[in-house]
Symmetry: C2
Subunit: 210 residues, 2 copies
């Protein structure tokens, strides 16, 4: 299986690295890190990454993973990336967080149920998808996940679908994914309206400074 992990400036690193740590454990898999322009790519909180391949060098991946960004509106204007996402025909076209926005902009989610970051559902609807409040949504060949950390759950679910439950469980054990967050505040419903409104304001400010 050839895995293509999409990099672009100001992407959110964990969106990509969660699925990467799961999918690269697939037996015989080969990973490429692809961007409009090969070379240095800095994530939105400063992590320095490097793309090994340009988009035009990767035409036949089996799995594509597109993470989101805290400055998605900029990424939506990357015509080379959106064009590549419109054309690529992998077995599984996956996204995490607002990465579903890039898929929608590329015309891959018209009228299709899709997950995204909870604060981005209205925007995803504007782009033609049907946003749903679910953690992982399978609409083959598309698989979308909710915000940031949801990519780990998505990748394990995809592993089970592609390689069976035992392989998925083995990988889960390998990354010791036995989550124990100190609070139960990972969704708007659980965090409550005050915290949710605060986050909405902070995230809108982040987009506005892009």
């Amino acid at each position: 299986m050839k895995l293509a992990f999409v990099l672009y400036p100001d992407m959110t690193a964990l969106d990509l690295v969660g699925p990467y740590e799961v999918l690269t454990q697939w037996p015989g898999s080969e990973a490429v890190f692809v961007a409009s322009t090969p070379g240095d790519v800095t994530a939105d909180s400063g992590l320095p990454l490097r793309a090994t391949h340009g988009l035009d060098e990767v035409s036949d991946p089996d799995v594509v993973v597109v993470g989101g960004s805290s400055r998605t509106e900029v990424a939506l204007e990357d015509e080379a990336l959106i064009g590549w996402l419109a054309e690529v025909q992998p077995k599984w076209l996956t996204s995490v967080c607002t990465g579903s926005g890039l898929l929608a902009k590329a015309g891959r989610l018209d009228g299709v149920r899709a997950a995204t970051h909870w604060a981005w559902r209205e925007r995803l609807a504007e782009l033609g998808a049907i946003p749903v409040a679910e953690r992982v949504v399978f609409e083959p060949p598309v698989v979308t996940a909710a915000g940031v950390s949801a990519g780990i759950d998505m990748a394990l679910a995809l592993t089970a679908r592609e390689l069976g439950d035992d392989v998925a469980k083995a990988i889960q054990l390998g990354i010791e994914y036995d989550p124990d967050p100190p609070f139960d505040a990972g969704s708007p419903e659980k965090a409550g309206p005050d915290l949710t409104n605060l986050l909405r304001q902070l995230m809108a400010a982040s987009e506005a400074t892009a």
Copy 2:
């Protein structure tokens, strides 16, 4: 707060990127990515990273994060890195997965309770620490986490301790950390002996090929 994220060849990327995605949200924080030699560093499953600073350029971080590796024995021989870890005096010296092995080798865990990857507890004991089957262990100034994905829980717990529960909850909501793994197989106890023994063999083989 100056955050120093330690990079080294064949590190496990998610060990670092989990805490990175949480801690870089701290108001006013500044992140540096530090390695024995600045420049390209490739993670153990192929992710291309880049260190922005050499170890000798970073002498006064407030928080240090050291991830683990599937080839930890090689990293234990990195004298420059171990020497730096022996000397550095941050407010919080943190590790994820077998990163606690590097701290132990540096003399920072002699007789100290510490977490590590479940398959690495005996090895950590050989290095002088007291391994415990806990997800996050606070022994200030040291904080250690269990395998790979546990770094997210560690960083949220550290956020709560340093900046209060509300900030930790806000960051948890921001990364939509409402985990929903498709299986309950994230620890040896939950995965059972067959899967656990299989993983032990696969991980030993990985170390052996290093």
